[in-house]
């Protein structure tokens, strides 16, 4: 009986732990950025996450209940009244059921997964999406606005309520471009350009970070996304064009050095800082986006 009591104690501890976790999650404040998305991409990703979590909770519940009953009922102690069936070792229908239960639950998750995967791979139809060419460097972020002709380092402005198309590449080891408040990440890889679109539905300043380890100062690769109204965005680009210094090739080479820098702004940037197809870079993976919704990102070349 000593043993039975100790396992009850263990169960109670588990229940307490579960309660504690529940409290933590339910009381989750704004620091849980993934649970408080500020844009449609993050929101649809969160919905899917929640949907999968509920489906998984069903499985977890079924297993925990069955397992709990088995452990409580079939302990080896003298006088256990529950049946002992040492030769019961197969049951056609039960074993078939084991295949069906997970298959059904996974099918339920699979359908929206595929739908949303395709949906998020397409830029929503819009008149004039903002295009930002992102280059990760050691250990800083360069943002170039090919249509607005301005460039920034370690911060960027985007208009609220409009999809923004990011073209991602690297002139450094790999990183991932991630603004958790707005949506999921995508790799920045040297020699390739990958597309990602995000949209902010509320004005605000959102932090972003690299998700892929890239060397000694990787931890410092934070950047800030300022989501502002469209008029403010236009005003900001005008201000940059009129007052910020132009980026020269020499300045770009300064950025290539292995160090960290603060925020920087430029009124223009040299076209050769962005990989062009004619230079032998591939756009694999990004092709479908660039073709269908090509906002003329390579026009500068």
């Amino acid at each position: 009986m000593q043993r039975v009591r100790s396992s009850r104690r263990a169960l109670r501890m588990l229940a307490l732990a579960a309660l504690g976790i529940g409290l933590l999650v339910s009381g989750c404040g704004p620091q849980y950025v993934l649970l408080h998305p500020k844009g449609p991409v993050g929101l649809s990703e969160l919905h899917l996450m929640e949907f999968a979590a509920i489906a998984m909770a069903v499985i977890i519940l079924v297993v925990f209940v069955l397992f709990g009953i088995a452990v409580v009922r079939f302990r080896d102690y003298p006088g256990n009244p529950n049946p002992y069936t040492p030769h019961w070792h197969s049951h056609k229908w039960l074993e078939t059921l084991w295949f069906i239960i997970p298959a059904v639950i996974l099918a339920v998750i699979a359908v929206p997964t595929v739908n949303v995967t395709y949906a998020l791979a397409k830029l929503p139809p819009t008149k004039d999406p903002v295009v930002i060419n992102v280059t990760s460097l050691n250990w800083k972020w360069l943002f170039e606005y090919p249509n607005q002709k301005v460039a920034t380092v370690n911060y960027l402005y985007i208009p609220v309520g409009k999809p923004v198309l990011f073209h991602l590449t690297a002139d450094s080891p790999m990183n991932t471009f991630w603004v958790p408040s707005l949506g999921g990440m995508e790799y920045t890889m040297p020699g390739r350009v990958l597309p990602l679109w995000l949209e902010a539905s509320k004005p605000g300043v959102y932090w972003g970070h690299s998700g892929q380890f890239s060397g000694i100062d990787f931890e410092k690769m934070f950047f800030h996304v300022h989501a502002v109204t469209e008029s403010k965005f236009t005003a900001w680009t005008h201000r940059l064009r009129s007052s910020a210094p132009p980026m020269t090739l020499a300045a770009y080479h300064q950025l290539l050095r292995f160090n960290t820098v603060g925020s920087e702004s430029y009124s223009s940037f040299p076209a050769s800082t962005w990989p062009s197809v004619s230079h032998g870079f591939t756009l694999s993976g990004g092709m479908y986006l660039l073709k269908s919704n090509n906002p003329n990102p390579t026009a500068q070349h």
Partner: protein, 659 residues
């Protein structure tokens, strides 16, 4: 001459490595080394060490050497983990800097996967498989010893990087271009590629060896569908190893060429493509996670029936699910890089294939529960680990399914959610499984039982520590914390959860110490296993004395069904019942050989030379390898005879011979 010495010191101990922790480690290694040499000399054990252990080809001794290496590496990897967690306990407080942190998380991951989990599963393969299938040895005993020494010297080469020259620091996955010389000068990444290449050869050979052993060496009557489930799991694991390690070998070798000879397979110049490495690495990497989890599934399939006193439920569906996991394991690797722009079709395909693999895994969970259903469950330490495994692994699997939901993965990729998930399945699955198997088969390996009471203390510390460590990490993932940051600023709300997580890591550390204490205490005072069957087991290994004699079976048993030994016990039969003196024949056994050790040493010397680009040393090591292989090929004197009288004497002393 002094210039030469200066060069040597500067190369082997560059300024980066002259940190207090590393100098401390240097000192400890020196002291331990001198201590070992002193003890061996003082008690005149050199000859014993060489004859009985370093040259052995006996699978049971090789198992013990694998186990010792695995536990030592668990210690090293665990200390690494505590260093990482200490650095993250508080925001902006960093006992170790970025340079060391990057080395430590790289070695933590590499060691835990390649030099802890792999030798641990091989320890149990070696200790159990020949006994379970009623065989005298593995198919290729010498290759088995070669596997061990290639692994061991690979591990040594990897571990000395910490004190000589500097550790690798690009993560256990070693993605280029970060491993390129331009971004990563110094010997660290060369150490990584070379040691994994050397150990990888050993692993591939082990896979071949056990596949052949299981196919060819089963006792008469043991059809495939009568094999114990652990044997099935090792069969599928071996097949996975054989097909999964070549892509890794290719990826590592090409990266090494890039570093050493300036080729451009994965580097930026001349059209190299870093993503090709990622592809090849995970083509190995995903089967690898099944390589370490399937043996754990096999262990649970042995532990649950034994301690539930009931036959395994759903034997056929267990086999079907093992084999389907084996095949599906090759079809999911892209889910490690959904966010590398493969496009929605590829991503959707691999998301679905990942979900698909959860189905056979779910089947196994239900079958274990229904093995317990209607049984009589004894709560031993081995069973406790299994009972912790089911809820833990189900949660880990569920969070893995959430990662297979492609759009969700875009948010969770490389966040602490992923860190929590794979520790949840690797610790909750593989490590719980291996510890369960350790307690279960320990008496068979060593002849005494690990103290159960102390084992339970270690168990609770370990399991509670595990949950306290990794539950907060899921939440950290939802808070947007990315992995591999060596410190983090205040103001993201990350500090509380990190502190809790660090606390949990130290509880796990205490659990490890309790485990070691349990082993050391039991070594001295543990209950001897005189019957050979301490758990009332069901499979053939329990029909032998503990530890099993060198030849395992005096006469090979004939198998009539699943759980042969249980059937024997039910009918009041034993192996000894029919063993008459005239049945015992003189046996031909493989002879000990120093070649595998020398081969491993040659690889080590060659690898060390290549790491520092000291070509004479590298060539010398390479010639050593060739010489060892030539010697092995032309050494026909590789068998010894064990006279029938010796066997009769041994069997009689166990009371296993009819008068």
């Amino acid at each position: 001459m002094p210039a030469f010495l200066l060069y040597l010191v500067h190369t082997l101990f560059p300024p980066d490595t002259r940190q207090p922790t590393e100098l401390g480690a240097d000192f400890m290694i020196l002291v331990t080394g001198i201590g070992i040499v002193f003890i061996l000399t003082r008690y005149q054990k050199w000859r014993w060490l060489w004859r009985e252990w370093l040259t052995t080809v006996d699978h049971k001794r090789i198992a013990i050497m694998y186990l010792i290496a695995a536990i030592a590496m668990l210690f090293r990897g665990g200390v690494d983990a505590l260093m990482l967690r200490t650095n993250l306990a508080l925001p902006n407080v960093r006992p170790i800097g970025a340079l060391e942190y990057n080395e430590v998380f790289t070695t933590h991951g590499t060691i835990m996967i390649f030099f802890m989990a792999m030798p641990f599963i091989f320890a149990l393969f070696n200790a159990v498989i020949p006994l379970q299938i009623g065989s005298r040895d593995v198919a290729f005993p010498r290759l088995n010893a070669m596997s061990y020494w290639l692994f061991a010297f690979g591990a040594i080469l990897f571990n000395i990087s910490f004190v000589i020259g500097g550790s690798p620091n690009a993560g256990w996955t070693g993605y280029p271009p970060l491993t390129e010389v331009a971004f990563n000068p110094g010997p660290g990444e060369s150490y990584y590629f070379l040691s994994l290449l050397i150990a990888g050869i050993g692993t591939t050979i082990t896979g071949i060896n056990f596949l052949v052993t299981i196919i060819r060496m089963r006792a008469p009557g043991m059809t495939l569908m009568r094999m114990p489930m652990f044997v099935w799991s090792v069969l599928t694991t071996s097949a996975l190893i054989i097909f999964a390690f070549p892509p890794l070998t290719v990826a590592l070798a090409l990266s090494l060429l890039d570093r050493t000879f300036g080729s451009s397979f994965f580097t930026l110049g001349h059209g190299g493509m870093p993503m090709m490495y990622v592809n090849l690495f995970w083509l190995f990497g995903h089967p690898e996670v099944y390589i370490v989890i399937l043996p754990a599934f096999g262990i649970f399939s042995e532990v649950v029936p034994t301690f539930s006193k009931k036959r395994l439920f759903g034997y056929t569906t267990m086999v079907i699910s093992l084999v389907s996991i084996m095949f599906l394991a090759y079809g999911t690797w892209v889910h490690h890089f959904f966010t590398m722009g493969a496009g929605p079709t590829v991503n959707a395909f691999f998301g679905l294939s990942t979900m698909l693999i959860a189905i056979p895994t779910g089947v196994k969970i239900f079958n274990w529960i229904f093995t317990m259903w209607g049984g009589r469950i004894r709560i031993t330490v081995a069973m406790l680990y299994q009972m912790a495994f089911i809820p833990t692994f189900v949660v880990g699997g569920a969070t893995g399914i959430m990662l297979s939901v492609v759009p969700a993965d875009y948010q969770l990729h490389n966040s602490y959610w992923v860190v929590a998930h794979f520790h949840n399945v690797l610790i909750g699955g593989t490590v719980f499984g291996l510890l369960s198997g350790l307690y279960y088969w320990w008496p068979k390996m060593f002849g005494f039982i690990l103290n159960e009471r102390q084992g339970k203390v270690a168990f609770w510390l370990f399991v509670i520590g595990f949950w306290v460590t990794f539950l907060p990490q899921y939440l950290l993932g939802l808070e947007g914390m990315t992995r591999r940051m060596y410190t983090y600023p205040f103001g993201f709300g990350w500090h509380e959860l990190n502190l809790i997580s660090t606390l949990g890591a130290f509880i796990m550390g205490a659990g490890f110490l309790a485990l070691v204490y349990n082993i050391v205490w039991s070594l001295r005072y543990g209950e001897r296993d005189l019957t050979g069957d301490p758990w009332n087991g069901r499979t053939l290994e329990w029909s032998l004395p503990s530890p099993a004699p060198e030849y395992n079976f005096a006469r090979i048993p004939v198998v009539h069904g699943v759980d042969e030994f249980w059937a024997m016990k039910e009918s009041g039969d034993t192996l000894a019942n029919h063993l008459r003196p005239q049945d015992v024949k003189t046996l031909e056994l493989p002879k000990n050989t120093g070649m595998p050790f020398m081969l491993g040493l040659s690889f080590f010397v060659g690898g060390f030379g290549m790491t520092f680009l000291w070509w004479p040393i590298a060539i010398f090591g390479g010639l050593g390898v060739v010489a060892c292989l030539l010697y092995a090929a032309f050494d026909y004197n590789d068998k010894k005879h064990l006279p029938a009288d010796v066997i009769r004497h041994t069997e009689r002393s166990w009371g296993r011979l009819q008068a």
